[in-house]
Amino acid sequence: MDPRRAGGRGVTTDRIITRNWGNPDVFHVDGYVANGGYAGLKKALAMAPEDVIELVKGSGLRGRGGAGFPTGVKWSFVPQDTGKPTYVVCNFDESEPGTFNNRELVDREPHQLLEGLAIAAYAVRCHNAYIYVRGEFLHQGTIVRRAVEEAYDRGFLGKGICGSDFDLDVVPHRGAGAYICGEETGLLNSLEGFRGQPRQRPPFPAVEGLYASPTVINNVETLCNVPHILENGADWFRGFGTAKSPGTKVFSVSGKVERPGNYEVPMGTPFRVLLEEHAGGVLGGKALKAWTPGGSSTPMLTAEHLDVGLDFESLQAAGSLLGTGAAIVLDETDCVVEAARRLLAFYAHESCGKCTPCREGTWWAVRVLSRIEEGLGRPEDLPIMNDLGRNILFRAFCPLADGAVSPITSTLTYFREEYEAHVREGRCPFTGSGPGRRIEEVAS
């Protein structure tokens, strides 16, 4: 067996939520329970809901979906005297390019998610929870649905959970395939049956979310951590990671590496460790050129950032973001202009169309980048790319557009020479595509 997959519940390793990945039995409810599963939920049900919130607050757990908001604090924002129902929604619309850790968490141990979801629901006194599954995740949608059925059969969901007087219904809901529905208010619109477009905030979902009622929205990985915090305590959890970013993070490593995959490491682990010890280093022993720490929406870093710790604070200090914890690795033979073009094409395709800078800005960026990559760039295109970055960032309705800016500004910051080479040579220096002459010459 792969040593990375070894271990089981209770075995002390550096891993928390992937520690059972070596044990195929935990996929079903019986194996999950036999391995100690749902103990955290039972523990929670014996506590007052407020104490559960305090415990999670004390653990310092921060949201793993990108923004890193403290989970317990988010739960405590839910007003309890509105006369409206409270909802918990699990955001399983994992669509960020390069990110696939939620998928494997569900693939291997779906009940860990359900247990975390049930604890969250209990903490905020919610009786109706939803799991919003990414539209393209056909298989995972089925897994979630079956796991929910199993949990109902075993009394972990439904009326009087685990013999308590707490009722909880969980409804899995599959999206229709839109990146914007990973944005929490877009997700809520989609869940209500409307167009997947973000809503104005405030009001924030904690006050007016699903069906204008108080709503907690948590990422899959966030919820998966919750049962372990309940079981082992806040101090235990704080034993992992850094002071401000406690716990572990499952990193999805892809691109030019020897062993792509998901690796759970303590927060603050240097990227060098993740790349070299876990992912086996750059493919074929080539040199590292660029990498994203948190998926395509986080600014790219370079080889000079190899020793940056993978946690919220260190990455921000280095000019990037932890994001969803997805390292896309480019080696020395990769063209960053082409990489930026592909990523911008993704954002242009996924822009919901609601606001001008995102809709038109990404459309324009794709066209300019395509021209440059095809050897038809002009010297005046670089200032345009600069302006695009400046005029989109923080000007759009929702953060989707800010993510789209990351590939533009980071590649212009670190690899401006590569853009200039494309324009100067009238072709892509890596693929050789293009007329090989300046566009003015082609025209004349």
């Binding site: 169309g353 001008t356 324009w364 400046r390 923080f394």
Partner: protein, 811 residues
């Protein structure tokens, strides 16, 4: 809710506004205009176009001022004082223009386009975008009225938000995403909202255009006037655009007390009637045929016919307030008759007298604002969307603000999604309303309506439509229901001139100001101005006038802006009347079907050609202004009446509009109203004699005179004749939806397509009053309801039936 005040500075200037105010609105208070496209003060914020950036001190990111609310001490900087904001707005405009076709020279919006204006004011002079622009198929007809050019669209979502939030007619929606996002409509659907034109007017670019205005004019070609729509009692404020003497467009003007910023499609698109080719603009006198002549000769002839003879006047709803006053006076002084009537329904009773008084005293009436702020509203006998459309939008607005609305009508209305309907068979309204008066009804729609009205108290409103005027004293019971619960009450007539005519006393029993002609005290107040009235006996109402005419008891019949053959709910009686009156004087824009009957024709000026007032259903008099002179020899109606007085050897006592207004203001100023006791003593449940009750009222778009020439409007919204019947009644008669039925009444019969629908009260059948191919008044005997039988007609029989869609003889 108390209105907490917030003080902030914008560009260094201090302003205090209520808490919750958007920054963009606060800036407007200071006269600072922040550029915007998606923002509209009557729509909920979208934050979509991103043009209205402002900088807020202490905040790293720019704010969109159309979504951000003010906070105490906030320091806002707009493009006027912040370079960053200015640059962001320029950059955003550059984004908006990337894919815009820049076809301003051929765009209907060119010259009055916010995008064009802003691009000119601060946009980049040259585009840095060198790639191909996004293209769409265009123009796409969303309906015969509305064309969509997606390439020009900036996706501000004003149109879709209007349909969602204001009209509730969600025909159009944004489809697809990213740069491919577009406004669209379900395949095979038409944009069938009677408010569709508003989306054109609020479109900040030329993406939505009006078919009747397509390529018709440039803004600098137009002369315009601010006036009031003549189509119904809503009184929408409009701007009339004329090009080379022809009316080419109506636009809504903003007036938050009346129409907000909206206009119905009839008011917007039925503007060609003043220029209709059938219009007659010279006086005519019958010799061998109707011969052109002068006003002097016609007046002399009429004087000869009328002196010492029995004269009666019927009017339509077109007359302005001043015309109605002049008519009321000329009929009673010069022609010594009380046989004059503007109505087709016969309200009578206290509610009507109150309405006549309330026109002059709005404390007694209901306003749009009252509706908007009401907590409970009962709408009885009124299909607001079809009859007074802007009131319909106000009711929807009230619903959005939390009002509970109850509609008491034989037919479900388009308030169905925001109101509870109590469907009742025509004739039953009084009984149902009485349950509200008595607080009966329990756990039913009526009971809930009564409870809601009682809870609302002064914030309750009862609106009585013209359907209530059909039933003896039904409007009075509605009034009593309002009095009992503390609600405000208003009678809501349909036509633009109705309230003015009622106030002026174009009525057999009522003089100006609702004074009773047979009440010596009230009459004396009028006589103090008019001189002694020689005829103090209440006159005949419209039906009685026609009956008298048919019995040769009338010598001269004036038909002022009315065609009884088409308008009166008894076509046969109207015909007999016309055949048996020696002299018929038609005063109108055209002759129409009266041509064979008219002995004299007096050409009237149309509403864009004159100065006057129209009074809304609320009792609000609003000025109409001329945009051109009277066509041909036509004259304003009041001038014609003044001439008639002279022809009769007298004088109306005023030679100018100002003199007329000065005289009338005394009689039409507020006065005390003491409601007399109503004769109503309790209805009990009505007993039905007839098998079914047929009822009818005009739909918004029909064959009415003022819709002449509005071909696009009719293509979009005019329905073919139909008959609605409840499924229970249909089943009993083996009638299938979509087939044809024969409807018989005492007056006649017709074969019409049938719609089986639960949206009508059991025991009732509905046909629209005046759709092309079926004049419903051929089925009526003086009222808008009639006992009827309905039977299925086999398809083959229907096709062979020569009487199909026509009138037969008796039953």
């Amino acid at each position: 809710m108390t209105q907490e005040a917030v003080t902030l500075t914008i560009d260094g200037k201090e302003v205090t506004v209520p808490k919750g105010t958007l920054i963009i609105r606060a800036a407007e208070q200071l006269g600072i205009e922040i550029p915007r496209f998606c923002d509209h003060p009557l729509l909920e914020p979208a934050g979509a176009c991103r043009q209205c950036y402002v900088e807020v001190e202490g905040q790293a990111k720019l704010f969109t001022s159309c979504t951000a609310t003010v906070a105490p001490g906030m320091a806002v900087r707009t493009q006027n004082s912040s370079e960053v904001v200015h640059e962001a707005q320029v950059a955003n405009l550059e984004f908006l223009l990337l894919n815009h076709p820049l076809d301003c020279p051929i765009c209907d919006r060119g010259g009055e386009c916010p995008l064009q204006d802003q691009a000119l004011a601060f946009g980049p002079g040259e585009s840095r975008y060198v790639e191909a622009k996004r293209t769409f198929e265009k123009p796409i007809p969303l309906s015969p009225l509305v064309g969509l050019d997606r390439e020009r669209c900036v996706l501000c979502a004003r149109c879709t938000r209007f349909c969602d939030q204001i009209s509730g007619d969600r025909f159009i929606e944004l489809f697809a995403r990213g740069a491919g996002e577009r406004v669209s409509i379900a395949a095979g659907e038409d944009f069938l909202s009677p408010f569709s034109g508003n989306t054109i007017q609020i479109c900040p670019v030329g993406a939505l255009t009006a078919t009747p205005y397509r390529f018709v004019a440039r803004p600098f070609d137009l002369s315009s006037v601010d006036t009031v729509c003549p189509h119904c009692s809503a009184g929408c404020n409009v701007k009339l655009d004329v090009r080379r003497g022809k009316v080419v467009r109506h636009l809504a003007r903003d007036n938050l007390d009346v129409n907000d910023a909206w206009l119905c499609d009839k008011g917007r698109f039925a503007f060609r009637f003043p220029d209709d080719e059938r219009r007659v603009t010279i006086p005519l006198l019958r010799d061998r045929g109707l011969e052109p002549t002068s006003f002097g000769e016609v007046m002399d002839a009429i004087g000869d016919w009328s002196r010492g003879k029995r004269v009666a006047f019927l009017t339509g709803g077109r007359l302005a307030d001043e015309d109605a006053y002049a008519l009321s006076k000329v009929a009673r002084t010069a022609f010594v008759t009380n046989d004059l009537d503007h109505r087709r329904e016969f309200a009578g009773g206290e509610a009507e007298r109150l309405a006549a008084v309330a026109v002059t005293d709005r404390a007694l009436s209901v306003t749009y604002r009252d509706v908007e702020r009401a907590k409970a509203i009962v709408v009885a006998g009124l299909d607001a969307e079809q009859e007074v459309p802007i009131l319909h939008l106000r009711l929807r607005k009230a619903a959005r603000r939390g009002a509970r609305i109850f509609v008491l009508n034989p037919r479900r209305t388009r308030l169905w999604d925001v109101a509870e309907h109590v469907l009742c068979r025509p004739g039953q309204e009084a009984h149902v309303l009485e349950q509200i008066v008595d607080g009966e009804g329990g756990d039913s729609g009526v009971g809930r309506a009564a409870d809601a009205l009682r809870e609302a108290g002064e914030a309750g409103v009862v609106l009585a439509g013209m359907r209530l005027a059909e039933h003896p004293l039904a409007a009075d019971v509605a009034l009593r229901a309002a009095r009992r619960t503390g609600a405000r009450f208003s009678l809501v007539p349909r036509r633009a001139g109705d309230k003015g005519a009622l106030a002026a006393g174009v009525h057999p029993r009522l003089l100006p100001g609702g004074r009773r002609v047979d009440d010596p005290g009230e009459r004396a107040e009028v006589e103090a101005v008019w001189g002694e009235l020689k005829n103090v006996v209440p006159g005949r109402n419209a039906k009685q006038i026609l009956e008298a005419a048919a019995n040769r008891e009338i010598d001269v019949l004036f038909l002022v802006g009315v065609d009884p053959l088409r308008d009166f709910p008894d076509a046969r009686l109207a015909r007999h009347a016309l055949e048996n009156v020696p002299y018929k004087v038609v005063q109108s824009l055209e002759l129409g079907s009266l041509e064979p009957f008219a002995d004299a024709f007096l050409p009237a000026a149309a509403f864009p050609e004159r100065d006057a007032h129209f009074t809304t259903w609320e009792g609000r008099a609003q000025r109409i202004r001329p945009v051109r002179g009277p066509a041909g020899l036509s004259r304003p109606d009041w001038e014609i009446f003044a001439g008639l007085a002279r022809a009769m050897g007298g004088s109306l006592g005023f030679e100018s509009l100002e003199d007329l207004q000065e005289e009338s203001v005394g009689l039409l100023s507020p006065r005390a109203f003491s409601g007399g006791a109503s004769a109503w003593v309790g209805a009990g449940a009505p007993q039905w004699i007839d098998e079914l009750t047929l009822f009818t009222y005009p739909l918004l778009v029909d064959e009415g005179r003022l819709s002449e020439g509005a071909s696009e409007l009719k293509a979009a919204l005019e329905e073919k004749p139909f008959l609605e019947i409840h499924p229970v009644d249909a089943d009993k008669r083996s009638i299938a939806d979509g087939g044809e039925v024969r409807v018989r009444t005492q007056a006649g019969q017709a074969v019409v397509p049938v719609r089986v629908t639960p949206d009508i009260a059991e025991g009732s059948v509905f046909v629209p009053f005046n759709q092309p191919g079926l004049a419903a008044n051929t089925l009526l005997s003086g009222r808008f309801t009639a006992g009827a039988t309905v039977e299925a007609v086999a398809a083959a029989e229907a096709a062979a039936d020569p009487e199909r869609l026509t009138v037969g003889g008796g039953p």
